[in-house]
């Protein structure tokens, strides 16, 4: 990938991580709220979805790292 395409890809990956993080923050507050209200059934799905979101963030981070490590041609 040349530099012209690499920069938007990096920015898009960063933007996606931020988006996933916002969803994860909302998920944490919603799960905590449900737990404090006595609805314990929400804890497991909340943790599973949070783990999936974290894995997606991790993959995007690896993608950014790999893209950043590629030798530049310019």
């Amino acid at each position: 990938m040349d530099r012209d395409k690499r920069l938007p890809a990096l920015n898009a990956a960063l933007g996606l991580i931020v988006l996933l993080l916002v969803v994860q923050m909302w998920l944490l507050t919603a799960t905590l709220e449900a737990y404090l209200a006595g609805h314990h059934g929400a804890a497991l799905p909340g943790a599973v979805i949070s783990a999936i979101l974290f894995a997606a963030c991790g993959c995007l981070y690896l993608f950014i790292g790999r893209l950043d490590r590629k030798p530049r041609r310019d």
């Binding site: 404090l36 209200a37 804890a43 979101l53 950014i64």
Partner: protein
């Protein structure tokens, strides 16, 4: 120092910059790492909730006689500990025969609530959160949930607390 073959500065310079300006410079990769660590923090939070949920003990059916309930005037209120000492609850006498009791901890930030007879509502003085004395539901303010209700039973002349419901169970 000679930069590596791809023209980028050595890796150690990214972590330990020499120039003052470089110290405040955050690369995309560093920013992404910070975001991923934050994401890990969120996951740990969710796992903590899950662990607490799994390890939670079922509340014991404790029965406690509330002393002084009969002497309470109509519209009066008093505080008693239930189900354990240090867990204050609010007992309200709404009519000659009707008693209601709720946890005294506000569901917002655990301030102690009190019964305001004039306005006939339970009030939290910290952030003006109001609850209904009939069923403990929120009327106004920041509290997110109803007050947990203490289940009461009359046994002869005595009033006995026999259980507790979380506010959302109704």
């Amino acid at each position: 120092m000679t930069p590596p073959g791809d023209g980028r500065p050595a890796a150690w310079r990214e972590e330990f910059p020499i120039g003052e300006g470089d110290e405040r410079y955050v690369t995309r990769r560093q920013f992404a790492r910070f975001l991923v660590l934050t994401s890990l923090g969120m996951l740990v939070g969710n796992l903590w909730i899950l662990t607490k949920s799994w390890l939670r003990k079922e509340p014991r059916a404790v029965e406690t006689t509330i002393r002084g309930a009969a002497a309470l005037p109509v519209g009066g209120s008093t505080v008693f500990d239930y189900p354990e000492t240090g867990e204050p609850c609010l007992l309200i006498r709404r009519s000659e025969d009707e008693f209601v009791a709720f946890s005294q901890k506000c569901t917002h930030l655990s301030c102690a609530v009190y019964y305001a007879k004039d306005s006939d509502r339970i009030e939290c003085p910290c952030h003006n959160g109001f609850f209904s004395p009939r069923d403990g539901r929120m009327l106004q303010g920041p509290p997110p949930r109803p007050l947990p209700r203490v289940l009461l039973e009359r046994r002869g002349g005595e009033l006995v607390a026999v259980g507790m419901t979380t506010g959302s169970e109704g």
